[in-house]
Assembly symmetry: C2
Homo-oligomer: 353 residues x 2
């Protein structure tokens, strides 16, 4: 459980227009999208997109039509990994940023990560309980992607954020994600019910898309231990800059620790195509963690793992997760592996001119 | 020494227009800036800025006027730290990104981080040898900043990248940075002279601004050891996603390790206002590092430190540096410290709804 950062199951088919059905049209120079979703009329006005631009694509009307928020991002040079593609952290950062910006368009945002007036009065902040992401293609440096974000109800004391990441030129879906958010008192660090006054501030913006995104089986992820785990990585610590404005480790940073106990051969030859994370507790500056991984299945070169992050001290559970991996497209990877090995064997002396 | 990521001394005065003198004017709707720099006529055409937009502000003409490149960035929610301000890593990421994009406008970019055709033929990549950055104010979330980047000569086998970070509304300088880049053979991982053929590709874009940015005394940073260091942090390891497309740890990631051995009281009560880093060697995936810090001076609540990053194995030197810190503006910091302490003392159980 971490600050704005979330899981439930996503649509199982690729390329779905979301919500249920979207018809495009133009009114003057303004593009208009209509959709029906769960018997619920949705109309989102978006400006005609400028594909090479990573500014916000914000619905500007203040009516109840503002349900789906769109934001373009250009993949920056510092957001790609060794494979020259956007990292999974980059996509999660985009999802989080679009959720916050969507919240701002409601006109009730008063600071922090989606805090409203009623939340601030009660020292409440949003925290993620779970996050699920499926990725079909990772965008590359300089590519422009569009994130669609919308909020839906998840019981009495949680909300769900839902995202689609699209190629901004073809509108092909590259990734889907969904999350659960609850409120926490930032002084006591205890979870809180959503006060009725706060709920009233944003409930009119919910999109009833639950039938589009069925619940995940995240509750079935087993708790690993030193006997059941196949790979264990110890001595993991947050760095100073892993802390977010809520003064705990950002949920996105957990991914780095999960990957630390994934076998090197998988990291180099496979790419992450699915991930479900259940956040159990906060993680602070002085935490020391162990990352545990166990193989849970393999099929046609695809591999699945279970994961656990736990505190070194008393083994307190921080996160439980499952990841799915598919073979990477082969592209000079033999050479890259060779270089990695070389780097690990020797360090060269450099002279500045 | 690390892939595109750099140090030398910056102008010692704040608010300098760069190059030497810039006169603003408008031709139609297009803003025009003229400057003289080191007896060198500079004219950079920039589109009229849209302040709320973080797309590129690129000079589009293909003449020799394209010397100073401007790019706007909007500080994202995931780019701020616990103090709600852009982190030093964020600024360094912006500098690096603007340098690469500037290089692209030369019309000679063929891939990677600023690789040209002649570099690719010879398996050459750019690597940073040093980086210096001074910051007067850290921008906050959603603020739009403008980076000015230009390239200058640094001897026969190096180039220098120079940057100004400005408030996009007032054009006040928020930060200045400068770096040194050399070439490395990506197969042998050895430094290389800049081949004449490669140099000819970009030397016409050099701005002779050496007298604007005097050399730093980076060579005077002493090498620390366990006796001379006041603070030592061990067991530091790169994470999988710390690797960049050149398959070594990105220069920006080194900052996190440097900060790990800075006393907690400084991190919470001060902010980094100056940093000089000299990159000595690459750092690969399996490296284990020690971060050493020694107090080198204190004056009026300002503090200065020396730093060393070295490999656990044989103490091979990776980076030498110096940082300067000034007191943070006081803003509920007592409360934040209390919360940090609370988090480190206990971990709460969260129930998802």
């Amino acid at each position: 459980m971490v600050t704005l950062g979330t899981s439930s199951t996503l649509c199982s088919f690729i390329g779905v227009m979301l919500p249920q059905q979207i018809n495009f049209g133009y009114r003057g120079k303004q593009e208009v999208k209509h959709a029906r979703c769960g018997g619920f009329q949705i109309k989102a006005n978006v400006k005609t997109p400028n594909k090479d631009d990573n500014s916000l694509r914000v619905t500007t009307s203040s009516t109840l039509d503002d349900f789906v928020f769109r934001q373009n991002f250009t993949i920056k040079s510092y957001e790609v990994g060794a494979n020259e593609k956007a990292s999974i952290e980059t996509l999660m950062n985009y999802f989080q940023d679009s959720a916050i910006n969507h919240f701002k368009t409601f006109g009730i945002h008063r600071g922090g990560f989606g805090s409203t007036e009623e939340m601030i009065k009660r020292n409440l902040i949003w925290v993620f309980t779970h996050m699920r992401i499926e990725t079909y293609r990772y965008p590359v440096c300089d590519e422009v992607v569009q994130v669609e974000a919308w909020m839906s109800v998840a019981g009495k004391n949680a909300v769900r954020w839902n995202w689609l990441l699209r190629d901004s030129k073809t509108y092909q879906v590259l990734s889907k994600a969904s999350s659960g958010c609850v409120m926490m008192n930032k002084l006591t660090r205890k979870l809180s019910k959503i006060p009725e006054e706060a709920r009233r501030e944003f409930e009119s913006y919910f999109v009833n898309s639950s039938r589009m995104i069925p619940e995940d089986d995240i509750k079935n992820i087993p708790k690993l231990n030193v006997i059941t785990a196949d790979y264990i990585c110890t001595d993991l610590k947050p760095r100073w800059n892993d802390l977010d404005i809520n003064l705990h480790v950002s949920n996105v940073k957990y991914i780095g620790w999960v990957l630390e106990s994934v076998p090197e051969s998988i990291l180099t030859n496979h790419e992450l195509c699915g991930m479900s994370l259940e956040y159990k507790r906060e993680c602070g500056r002085d935490s020391k963690l162990h990352s545990l991984t166990a193989i849970c299945g393999a099929n046609n070169n695809n591999v699945e793992f279970y994961h656990l992050l736990q505190l070194e001290d008393r083994g307190v559970e921080i996160l439980r997760g499952r990841t799915k991996w598919r073979p990477k497209p082969i592209r000079n990877w033999g050479l890259l592996k060779l270089l990695l090995q070389l780097q690990n064997q020797r360090h060269y002396l450099f002279h500045t001119s």
